[in-house]
C-alpha cells in the first residue's frame, strides 16, 4: 500500500470517528486529504467514487464498523460515520499472570490464518495497555493447527457459514468422492483435525478427517446460508461418532507380561493357570480387540464372547499368513 493511500485511510478514520453526525461523501471529499478534488468534470467525480468505494471496502475488511445513514429527512444521500462504542475495544486489564496466559495461548497457533490473527489480537491488546510477554522462558513448541492444508478453507467457510464442497478420500474407498457440506466447525480431537457439518447429500450430520480431504475445499453461495444447531458441541459430535457404549472386557495375562494393558487395567484375580485376570473398560471394542490380538500368547481373552471370537479370528488369519502370499482378508 502506498504511504499516500495509508495516510488517506487513517485520515478517513479520524474524520468519521470524530463526528456523531453522518458525513456525506461530498464533505469527505472536501475535507479528507488525498481524494481527487472536484473540478466539475465527470472524470474527477468518477475517480473519487471508485477510490472512495475501495477505501470503504478496505476499512470494513480490517473490521472498522463503518455505518451509513442520514441525519434527517432532508438529506438526499447516505452519509458515513464510525460509532465510537462499536469501534473501540472495551476496557480490559489483565494481571501479570493473566497476561502471561494470554501470551502463551497466542503462541499455540501455527497456520497463517490463526497465527496472523493471534498477532493482530496481540497488537490490539498491547495498544489497550496490556503488557503481554510472549518471551516466557518455558521451552515449548506447540502446534495446534499445523500441517493441515484443508484447515483454513474449512475454518473460513464455517466462520462465514457458507456451503463447502470438497473431495474426500476414505481409506476404504478407491476414489475420492465429492462431498457437499454445511460446515459447522473444525475441531481437534485426540490429535486429529475434523470438520463437523451437515452433509447435504446424505441429509445427516457427518464428521470428516481433514487429512482425508484432497485438493482444495471450495466455498460457494452466500454467507450466513445456514445455522448450526444451537447447542452444538463440536468435540462431543466427534467423540460421539468415534466412541460407543462402555464395555467391560476380562482377559488373562501372563505374569509380568502385557505391561501396556496393566497401565489401565484393574487386576481382579488369578486364573487356574496362574495368570493375572485383568478387567478393562472400553468404548471402542474393535480397537481393543485389535490391540489384544497383538499381545499374542501373553494374553487370553475370557469375556465377552464377542471379543474372544474377534481375537480368535484375527489370530487365525495371522497364523495363516505366508510371506508373499495373499492378504488373508479383512472381513471386519
Amino acid at each position: 500500500m502506498s504511504a499516500k493511500r495509508a495516510e488517506r485511510l487513517v485520515n478517513l478514520v479520524f474524520a468519521l470517528l470524530g463526528t456523531r453526525q453522518y458525513v456525506s461523501a461530498a464533505r469527505i471529499r472536501a475535507t479528507v486529504p488525498g481524494y481527487e478534488a472536484e473540478d466539475g468534470t465527470a472524470r474527477a467525480d468518477e475517480a473519487f467514487k471508485r477510490m472512495f468505494e475501495r477505501d470503504k471496502a478496505e476499512l470494513r475488511e480490517i473490521g472498522v464498523p463503518l455505518e451509513t445513514g442520514r441525519n434527517s429527512f432532508f438529506d438526499t444521500e447516505d452519509g458515513y460515520r464510525i460509532a465510537r462504542t462499536d469501534y473501540e475495544l472495551p476496557e480490559i486489564t489483565l494481571t501479570g499472570e493473566e497476561a502471561a496466559a494470554v501470551g502463551l495461548a497466542l503462541r499455540l497457533w501455527q497456520s497463517a490464518q490463526l497465527a496472523g490473527a493471534a498477532q493482530g489480537a496481540l497488537v490490539k491488546l498491547r495498544a489497550a495497555g496490556v503488557e503481554v510477554d510472549v518471551g516466557r522462558a518455558l521451552p515449548l513448541q506447540p502446534r495446534l493447527d499445523a500441517g493441515e492444508p484443508a484447515f483454513e478453507p474449512c475454518y473460513v467457510a464455517a466462520r462465514d457459514r457458507r456451503e463447502l464442497s470438497f473431495d474426500y478420500a476414505r481409506p476404504d474407498e478407491d476414489q475420492p468422492v465429492r462431498r457437499h457440506v454445511q460446515p459447522w466447525g473444525v475441531v481437534a480431537w485426540h490429535g486429529r483435525w475434523y470438520l463437523v457439518g451437515h452433509d447435504l447429500d446424505r441429509h445427516a450430520p457427518r464428521v470428516f478427517r481433514l487429512s482425508r480431504v484432497t485438493g482444495s475445499p471450495r466455498a460457494s453461495g452466500p454467507a450466513g446460508a445456514f445455522e448450526p444447531p444451537a447447542d452444538l458441541d463440536l468435540a462431543a459430535v466427534v467423540a460421539g461418532q468415534v466412541d460407543g457404549e462402555e464395555q467391560l472386557v476380562l482377559v488373562a495375562a501372563r505374569p509380568g507380561a502385557a505391561v501396556g494393558l496393566r497401565r489401565r487395567a484393574t487386576v481382579v484375580g488369578t486364573t487356574a493357570d496362574g495368570d493375572d485376570r485383568l478387567q478393562l473398560r472400553t468404548t471402542d471394542l474393535t480397537a481393543l480387540v485389535d490391540e489384544l490380538a497383538a499381545y499374542g500368547p501373553d494374553v487370553l481373552v475370557e469375556a465377552p464372547a464377542e471379543a474372544r471370537q474377534g481375537v480368535v479370528e484375527r489370530l487365525t488369519r495371522l497364523a495363516g499368513m505366508a510371506p508373499g502370499g495373499s492378504v488373508p482378508g479383512d472381513a471386519r
Binding site: 487513517v10 472495551p90 502463551l104 495461548a105 490463526l114 518455558l138 478407491d174 484375527r314 510371506p323 492378504v327
Partner: protein, 333 residues
Amino acid sequence: MSAPTADRMVRLLALVPYLQARPDGVRLAEAARDFGTTEAQLRRDLDLLWVCGLPGHGPGDLVDLSFEGDRVRVTFTAGLVRPLRLTTDEAVALIVALRTLLELPGLAEGEAVSRALAKVSAATGQPADRVAAVAVSVDAREQALSVVRDGLERHRALHLHYYVPTRDERTERSVDPMRLLLVDGHWYLEAWCRGAEGVRLFRLDRVDDVVVLDEPAAPPPQAEERDVQAGVYQPDAAAPVVRLRLARTARWVADYYPVERVEPVDDPPGGLSVTVRTADPAWARRLVASLGGAAVIDEPVALAEQVAADARAALARYGDRTGGEQDGAPAGG
C-alpha cells in the same frame, strides 16, 4: 486487500492508543518488538501518523508526537484513544487457545487462565457461536505435564518410568529435560536420556511416576533439538526396510506413518503396497499383529514368519480352553 496492507493499517490505528497507554514514552526498539516489526518500519509509521488527524488539518488537529532520544510519546491523539475491536479471527485465535490452555492444567496457572478467558471474552464482544467454529480437545495427563513443566522451569533433571509399546516394556530413566512439544494433540518431552546417551522424545501419556530430581538439568552440548515439522516419527534413511501389503481396511496406515513407495496392488483388490523404514522390527511386528490379517509382511520374510508363529502359539491357548480334547496334553509345542 492484501495481508501486508491490512497488517499495516491495523498497526497504524493501534500505534496512537499504544503510545497513549504509555504516558512516559516507549523506546522505539521496544515498540517495534511489541508490534512485530522493524524499527525502520516503525519510524515510517510514526512519520505517516504525524501528518494525520482531524479534518481541517491545522496545527491543533494533527497527531502530535514527541521524541526524546530514542523514546517516543504521544502528546495529542486526535481522538484515537482505543484500539479497534478484535475481529472474529482474532477473537477465535485468542479464545480457543485460552480454552485449550484450560484443558492443559499443567501448563499455565489454571485460575489465571480462567480469569483471562472471562475478561477476554467480555472484551471481544463476539457472539459465542462464532467463536465455536473452532474447538480443540487435547489429550494430556495432568500429573505428568505439571511435573515435567516444573522440572523445565527450574532446570532440574527428571526421573521417570516410560512405557515402550513396541516392546511392551516399562523402562526407568533419568533424563535432562530440554523442551515440551505439542504435536498432533499429544504432548512430548524432549530430553537427553542419560542411559541411552541420546536425545529422546517421551510421549507424556506413556510416562508414569515422574519426579523432579534435586540435581540440575545438564543436557550435553551434542544434545540437539529435533525438527518435528514433519512429525515425530522420523525414519532413519539408512534403517532396514519393511514392505507391507495393506488391505482396504488397513490403508489408513499409509496416512498415519511415514511410508515410501506407495503403490496400488490387485491382491487384495484395492490394496496398497507400502515400504516403511524402521530400526525396530518389533514395531512392525506389533503393527501387523494389531491389524489382525488386514496387512501382510512381504519383506523381511523372517518377520512374517515370526508374526505367524506368535499367532499360532496364541491360538493354541484358545484351543486348550475351547476344544477341551487337548486336556492333559503336555504344555508347550
